[in-house]
């Protein structure tokens, strides 16, 4: 039976989109603390302000992350949510599950917590939402012993890595994103569980430039699939797009916006203008292609990424706090992504940037901000990467170069007296 009057919450049971309020009420029959979640939410809707206290350090022994402490600021009214800590479970790569495993998670969480979850958190974790401090150790014991499953990251550590679904169900994956994500997650368990960084650090793995996990916008180190040979063309399928037999954009866009027109929809929208028709065949000057994926997206049956595949590494993306949002900066144009050698080339890059950032990053400074502070030339030097024009959109427009002494003939030591002998004041 409902414990509180929740007229505003009840309003959100109407409408065609699935209602989290109806769902909370359903769970409340088994997990009575859900009535207090609804009650406190109703109070927040009425007061137009949160009723959660700031922070609270809780966790499991030996870990510095994975649990986020949370306490109600009105615990007398809503004792069921007086403690409401969050538990982050490290999601399996690209979020496939067996129902057998999911049911075990459900049973564990109904026993040890509120029964409410986020599928999933913004960084990728399977989030168990709301439990009491005394439940944390027993929950962790059951999680590791019975489910063979571990916590994800929180705080100033490596956050839980995430990836697109890659080769599991996508024809465009230029490397095995799931293997890369899982291998790095296992390789860096210590960095995920025990915060030792200046601030958070995120890995995201996308199989192509469509970037389904927003690696370029959201991760300190983005690994984005690409190729360095030629787009594979099936000319018969190109003809079927032109004839209308194949659906444009794989059927993703309605013909009311215009029937497929290879000139208008593909050739004219190519950002480098490297495509043309010749004798009924689509031609691509691959040396001019920047692999943006537009043409492939529009004609998925006719065009495919090349076969000499690997990844481009971008670094420093982050949301606005504090210096403003940053997109990832292209740092390493191409590496092979080889599961056979446990992604050795990627590991080298990661360890080089961490060594430097742990030494030089200030407290609560994301990698992108440290890069801004020291400048890209300095950053490339510490990464031992040769500067190439691909590192910039355009050359600098100001002439204020930080020349180093060793670059200037004769160095910087000069004698003013010698100078004055030739140049009177």
């Amino acid at each position: 039976m409902p414990k509180h009057d929740t007229p505003m919450m009840d309003e959100l049971e109407k409408g065609p989109w699935p209602s989290f309020v109806s769902d909370l009420k359903r769970q409340a029959e088994k997990s009575p603390q859900c009535w207090d979640i609804l009650g406190q939410m109703e109070l927040s809707f009425k007061d137009r302000i949160t009723h959660w206290k700031h922070g609270g350090i809780v966790g499991v022994f030996g870990y510095g992350g994975g649990i986020v402490g949370r306490y109600s600021d009105v615990p007398d009214k809503f004792p069921g949510v007086a403690h409401f800590h969050t538990v982050r479970l490290n999601q399996p790569s690209s979020k496939f599950y067996s129902t057998e495993m999911l049911r075990k998670v459900c049973d564990l969480w109904e026993k040890r917590g509120s029964g409410m979850t986020n599928m999933h958190g913004s960084t990728g974790d399977l989030v168990l939402l709301g439990t009491r401090t005394e439940e944390l150790e027993p929950l962790f014991y059951d999680l590791t012993h019975d489910l063979n499953w571990d916590l994800g990251g929180s705080g100033s550590n490596l956050r839980t890595p995430s990836c697109c679904l890659g080769k599991a169900r996508c024809e465009w994956a230029c490397y095995d994103t799931q293997a890369a994500c899982h291998t790095m997650t296992m390789h860096y368990q210590d960095e995920i569980h025990r915060p030792a960084f200046p601030y958070k650090f995120k890995f995201k793995f996308s199989g192509c430039a469509n970037d389904c996990v927003a690696a370029a916008a959201r991760s300190d180190l983005a690994t984005i699939g690409t190729w360095r040979d030629k787009i594979r063309i099936n000319q018969d399928e190109v003809k079927k797009y032109i004839s209308g037999e194949n659906k444009q954009n794989g059927g993703g866009v309605d013909d009311s916006f215009g029937k497929f027109d290879i000139q208008k929809d593909v050739i004219d929208l190519c950002p480098t203008g490297c495509m043309w028709m010749e004798d009924d065949e689509l031609k691509i000057d691959d040396a001019e292609c920047t692999r943006c994926m537009h043409c492939i997206n529009i004609m998925p049956k006719a065009l495919r990424p090349g076969t000499d595949t690997g990844a481009t590494i971008m670094m420093g993306a982050k949301a606005p706090i504090l210096d403003g949002a940053q997109l990832g900066t292209m740092i390493v144009p191409f590496i092979k992504m080889d599961p056979e050698n446990d992604f050795e080339e990627l590991v080298d890059i990661i360890e080089k940037v961490w060594d430097w950032w742990m030494e030089n990053g200030k407290n609560r400074e994301r990698l992108g901000e440290t890069m801004q502070r020291v400048g890209l030339p300095t950053f490339l030097r510490v990464m031992e990467i040769e500067p190439i024009p691909q590192h910039v959109k355009e050359p600098r427009t100001n002439p204020y170069v930080f020349w180093r002494e060793e670059e200037v003939e004769g160095g910087w030591d000069r004698d003013i007296k010698e100078f004055r002998k030739r140049h009177a004041m």
Binding site: P18, R26, S44, K95, C106, M116, R169, V253, D254, N363
Partner: protein, 376 residues
């Protein structure tokens, strides 16, 4: 057996990571890993992937509020057990994906989903509004300037037809972050709702000594608006505390993140900003940031009508005027942002002119503009 509170370190297991993903693959996924040839969207919410082996995988994409109960997950498991050999997955945008290995299994699955009320809407593919990524808001967070689940429910109810059909010029990705920390990273979305504060932090001198490292609170301010100061408690005791130069405050809330004695949330001060025109994919042009076009709308629970209408108005203006494949930001760039404000009937204010770092990059430095109604 089980956890022994007397001996917490006994048999302790740590650092085992997540379960290996491969054990969760449906057979058709496992057998065709790395062999996929092409895909089609058969109808809104239904994807067909074809393998080099000739095998087919049909995926039914279903919306979800993200905040879901274990009872709901069990129902998802029931569906997956009945139709999908006991496997299911989630997408980055909080959609659920049910996969089957032949076309004849699609309709029974769709019928089953449809029979369960409004719990499992099928859609979110191609040129649609996909599910909104969002943050916690008032359900769990200590720093929000607005709610998350409530606003998202209100917006998705209103835009439902654009989720279940594909009638937009291109895909449109919506996102909500309930404060500037943006754990939902809405800074590269077609349409973003962002919770913002507008009142500077209060200072709880009575509590500050016990809960804050003053140097961290001072260093937390990107504009140097937090300074050391002395304060006198009710007891008459003089303590070291801080003061805030309100004129320099940009309401980012970073001081509160570092210092619980500096709360800034407020029913009147808080609300939502709308930012538009960002995208992540490299398609045509690279990733772009969302731009602030509406600086403030009030928090008006339970349905945030001002926010919902603003989002809908922008979405429909774009849908009506954009060319095929043109994302919202590409359309605004092509017609010019002055035209965007006119077409969307959004008043332009000084709040949309950047005066933070690197602001000059966004000022117009050519004489090439359009004579819209803004020029009197």
């Amino acid at each position: 057996m089980g956890y022994d509170p007397e001996n917490p370190m006994k048999d302790r297991i740590t650092d085992i990571g997540p379960p290996h993903y491969e054990q969760f693959f449906p057979p058709v996924i496992k057998e065709n890993y790395g062999k996929w040839l092409y895909h089609e969207i058969v109808r809104p919410g239904v994807l067909k992937h074809v393998s080099e082996t000739g095998a087919e995988c049909y995926t039914i994409r279903v919306g979800s509020p993200r905040l879901i109960s274990v009872e709901h997950i069990r129902e998802i498991c029931d569906i997956a057990d009945k139709h999908c050999d006991g496997f299911v997955r989630w997408t980055t945008r909080n959609n659920i994906e049910f996969m089957v290995d032949s076309e004849d299994k699609v309709q029974p699955l769709l019928d089953d989903l449809a029979s369960r009320g409004n719990k499992f809407p099928v859609g979110g593919t191609g040129a649609s509004v996909s599910n909104m990524v969002h943050t916690q808001g008032w359900i769990h967070c200590h720093t929000p300037a607005t709610d998350a689940s409530g606003v998202v429910k209100a917006v998705m109810d209103e835009l439902f037809e654009y989720f279940v059909e594909m009638k937009l010029p291109a895909k449109c990705k919506l996102a909500l972050a309930c404060c500037l920390n943006m754990c939902g990273a809405v800074h590269a979305s077609d349409i973003a709702i962002l919770g913002i504060h507008r009142k500077p932090p209060m200072i709880d001198h009575e509590a500050i000594t016990g809960v804050c490292e003053l140097p961290l609170a001072i260093a937390a301010c990107p504009l140097g608006a937090v300074k050391p100061a002395k304060a006198t408690l009710e007891s008459g005791e003089e303590i070291k505390s801080v003061k805030v130069n309100a004129e320099r405050c940009m309401f980012c809330g970073n001081c509160y993140t570092m210092c619980p004695a500096m709360p800034l949330a407020d029913p009147e001060g808080d609300g939502c900003a709308i930012l538009v025109g960002g995208k992540v994919s490299a398609s045509r042009g690279g990733a772009t940031f969302s731009k602030l076009v509406i600086p403030f709308l009030p928090n008006n629970p339970p349905r945030w009508p001002e926010v919902v209408q603003a989002v809908k108005k922008i979405l429909e203006a774009w849908a009506k005027n954009a060319r095929k494949y043109e994302r919202l930001g590409e359309w605004a760039e092509r017609i010019g942002w002055e035209k965007f404000f006119e077409v969307c009937d959004i008043p332009f204010t000084e709040k949309s002119i950047d005066d933070y770092r690197l602001a000059y990059d966004t000022w117009r430095t050519t004489t090439q503009f359009k004579f819209t109604s803004h020029i009197k």
